[in-house]
């Protein structure tokens, strides 16, 4: 059976703060060596789907580099494989993608010669392991025009998702995008299986409407439900995580340090593939200590690491302590430095004796209080933190800042944004 999947990977992930400032949300590093999109790409190939278009728009560079020819997923193929679909010029409709439905609409050409019954539309933003064959079987058994995968979310989380209501047969009878409250707790996972010809018809129709923002969740799905199209909800019974906010990102990462992680990343029958750099095994030096952590190849641990996630090539110097933190590729923690509840992006240099995450968690960040108020502090890619500096909780240190940008310690909720912008 010929199968094709679109993966929507253009999201800006605004609520992830600095982590998605210079990369799309699907390209955000996750669980010590992966990027978020690896889960969706691996689900595809593990389900036997080897023909994929990845739609990008926001800051696609790191995603393009990551996917490359698709080799880690065996997607470097003569027939099918993976293609990155950036907005392009040349046809009547071409412009920036206005919404998720518009993004697929502008790429309908890719379905022209693909004569399959159903088309998979996925989001590259989520962490989960799913066999899409089950979804195909469910879709066929119901004779659905579209099937939406759903997962049960807590009552107080319904306002973050598209919430579906179903009848006893699983048919969708109601849909609300991000409702304040709802009787149903079934959230759309951003995983859709569409009848091919119906999808084409619907998208062409939607594109012509002026009253549409051309989004699956906001426009298309509610309209189809209201119209009584045969849409079915497939209830996914396992772990699924939208790592949309900095807090949920942090919690989801830390969950993988547990002896019973939410997903088995070591399952030989469902390998999560990624683009790994060739790095030597983790080096535990004399006197180093570590516990309850996830530590990737290429790290060198001479200090203390507790309840943390360390990506490849992180160096923890003697006397340094990394606690309840996430530290990304090739960052260097100098002697006697302390990191507490810090999320540190790639290639950050933490000077000797620096103290990160020292202070009162009650002071939200001055620049983005809505995203940074739980006590985490964020350091952007390539920042260089001076020796001995103290950085408070909920602080935000911009990418690439260096010694001259720091005139004093950074207070709780403080912001350092580079040259001459000290708030």
């Amino acid at each position: 059976m010929q199968r094709y999947a679109f993966i929507l990977a253009g999201g800006a992930g605004t609520r992830l703060c600095l982590l998605s400032e210079k990369r799309a949300k699907p390209a955000v590093p996750f669980a010590g060596k992966y990027r978020i999109i690896d889960f969706t790409l691996s689900n595809c190939v593990n389900s036997g789907i080897y023909d994929i278009g990845v739609l990008t728009q926001y800051r696609p560079t790191s995603l393009n580099q990551h996917i490359g020819t698709g080799r880690p997923w065996d997607l470097d193929r003569s027939h099918g494989g993976v293609q990155v679909l950036q907005p392009s010029l040349g046809s009547n409709e071409s412009e920036w993608y206005r919404g998720t439905a518009d993004a697929i609409h502008q790429n309908l050409i890719h379905l022209r010669r693909r004569r399959m019954d159903a088309v998979l539309v996925l989001s590259g933003d989520h962490v989960y392991k799913m066999d899409y064959n089950v979804l195909y079987a469910f879709h066929a058994a119901n004779g659905a025009s579209a099937t939406v995968a759903v997962t049960e979310v807590p009552e107080d989380a319904v306002s973050s998702f598209g919430i579906l209501e179903t009848d006893s047969g699983g048919r969708v009878v109601g849909f609300e995008e991000k409702p304040q409250r709802s009787r149903s707790r079934l959230a759309s996972m951003g995983v859709y299986l569409f009848d091919r010809d119906s999808l084409i018809r619907w998208l062409v129709e939607d594109a012509a409407r002026d009253d549409s923002s051309h989004d699956f969740g906001k426009d298309l799905i509610p309209r189809l439900v209201a119209r009584g199209e045969p849409l079915y909800a497939y209830r996914f019974p396992a772990y699924w995580q939208d790592v949309g906010t900095l807090d949920s990102y942090y919690d989801a990462n830390l969950a993988f340090t547990s002896p019973t992680p939410p997903l088995d990343l070591a399952d030989p029958d469902w390998v999560i593939h990624t683009t790994s750099a060739d790095r030597p095994p983790v080096r535990f030096e004399r006197g180093g200590r570590s516990s309850h952590s996830l530590i990737a190849n290429g790290c060198c641990i001479a200090g203390t690491v507790e309840r943390s996630v360390l990506f490849p090539g992180v160096n923890v110097s003697p006397g340094a302590v990394v606690r309840d933190s996430i530290v990304m590729n090739d960052s260097y923690v100098g002697r006697d430095a302390v990191l507490d509840h810090a999320v540190v992006d790639k290639q950050v240099l933490v000077g000797a004796g620096a103290r990160l995450g020292h202070g009162d968690r009650g002071v939200p960040n001055r620049a983005c209080p809505e995203h940074l108020s739980s006590g985490l502090l964020v350091v952007g890619k390539g920042a260089r933190l001076p020796e001995g500096i103290t950085i408070g909780r909920n602080a935000r240190i911009g990418a690439g800042v260096g010694g001259a940008d720091f005139t004093t310690d950074v207070p709780d909720g403080g912001v350092v944004d580079g040259r001459q912008t000290m708030h």
Binding site: P259, D278, P281, V282, R283, S290, H292, N297
Partner: protein
């Protein structure tokens, strides 16, 4: 470097590595927590811009062939050149098996000549070192001789493992003494040679078997100018238990002489996709290399752990090398041991227990205990120092106690089935 072709000799299955090479070539033995020995030679080729490589295999080649594949990790998957795997084959005029190093090359000379190299770089796949072969080729060019061999200084007690050289002030070889019990010479031949292609072709016409005995020695005796190139960095032939163990341990030094991740000269390998190391509560890991896919909740000291090793709570691994997917269960202890892939040290068992046995017959193990692939050490069992547990040994075969220096035979993997 289009005019240079590397010939990597990787067909040997050293007896001296016992169960570790019973089912693989020395070149395919896992090393350094994620590599195989041949990765060093292949990475050196890659970084030295040697783009034509032939690998000669004979002894249990499967794991080596799987590992090398199309040569992609070393960028040797090329349309022109790249890596060739050369296995013995049958033909009307010869018997097939490689009788020796020179014979292996001779049997494939047509394939080598087809690539049109002006010089061939002959090397062993059994050595760990990082070397820029361009330096050796430069020495060869300057010396204008027919052949240049690379040499390294070794400790006096190691001379019986190597061809020992004496050279004159210009670096020309005076004598080559193969594996002498005692000698004043401290320079060993690294088994790494540059030949002018025509010179080697000529020599191979005489039907030589061994490259040293039948090619180099006659050249020396005939008064040909054999030049040397001294290599001064770390170099080790890991074809014996002691040297293999020590080379792995070298990596654990504070400033190792063998660096694995120099960004300008990374050691490349075929990587497995495994999650990061999971360090559990109560883990103690000190002076060790631990690869992705490991789960450690016990104690690991001065050891090398390959991908997928599990060390359960209360278990201890000390001064050992533990290969892929081995399970060391709770309260088990592994001390001065080399444990091959997929073996299992069951609850409370001890591997490398008690005193080191005396006697010359155990000397080759240097006090280390070897456990073969897939062997199962039963619950609470004691396996003494310098014992060898065969590949696939069952709990019944191992029993409660394996005396120091004892040997448990290997069993075929299908014995349970037939």
């Amino acid at each position: 470097m289009r005019r240079v072709m590397a010939l990597v000799l990787a067909g040997g299955g050293s007896e001296a590595l016992s169960v570790l090479t019973a089912e693989r070539a020395v070149s395919a033995v896992p090393f350094g927590g994620k590599y195989r020995v041949i990765d060093f030679a292949l990475s050196n080729c890659c970084h030295s811009e040697v783009e034509r490589v032939a690998v000669f295999t004979q002894h249990h080649p499967t794991s080596l062939h799987d590992h090398i594949g199309s040569g992609r990790p070393w960028d040797l998957d090329r349309r022109s050149g790249g890596v060739l795997l050369l296995q013995p084959y049958l033909a009307r005029h010869h018997t097939g098996w490689y009788r020796g190093t020179a014979d292996a090359i001779a049997q494939n000379w047509d394939v080598i000549e087809e690539q049109g190299p002006e010089r061939v770089l002959v090397m062993s796949g059994d050595h760990v070192y990082r070397m820029d072969y361009r330096q050796l080729l430069l020495t060869h060019t300057r010396g204008r001789g027919p052949v240049t061999l690379s040499m390294a200084r070794v400790a006096p007690d190691q001379s019986r493992r190597f061809g020992m050289l004496s050279v004159d002030g210009s670096g020309r070889v005076l004598t080559l003494d193969e594996k002498p019990a005692t000698t004043d010479a401290t320079l060993a031949s690294m088994g790494l040679y540059v030949f002018e292609t025509g010179v080697l072709a000529q020599a191979l016409r005489a039907g030589p078997v061994d490259l040293v005995h039948d090619v180099l020695r006659p050249m020396l005796e005939a008064g040909e100018r054999v030049q040397t190139h001294e290599f001064t960095d770390y170099w080790e032939d890991v074809g014996a238990v002691g040297p293999y163990y020590r080379a792995n341990h070298e990596l654990l030094q504070h400033t190792p002489r063998l660096v694995l991740h120099d960004p300008r000269w990374p050691v490349l390998t075929r990587d497995e996709e495994r999650p990061p190391v999971v360090v559990g509560d109560g883990a103690v890991i000190d002076q060790s290399l631990v690869a992705n896919g490991c789960r450690v909740s016990g104690t690991v000291m001065r050891s090398v752990l390959f991908p997928g090793v599990t060390v359960e709570p209360g278990a201890e691994v000390r001064d050992s090398i533990v290969m892929q997917d081995v399970r060391v269960e709770s309260q088990a202890r592994v001390d001065h041991a080399i444990i091959d892939k997929h073996a299992r040290v069951t609850r409370g068992a001890r591997v490398g227990d008690g005193p080191v046995p005396r006697g010359a017959e155990h000397a080759w193990l240097e006090g280390l205990t070897l456990v073969g692939k897939d062997a199962v050490i039963p619950e609470g069992a004691r396996v003494g120092r310098a014992a060898v547990v065969g590949i696939g040994a069952s709990p019944d075969e191992v029993g409660e106690q394996v005396e120091p220096g004892a040997v448990i035979a290997s069993r075929a993997w299908y014995e349970d089935v037939v």
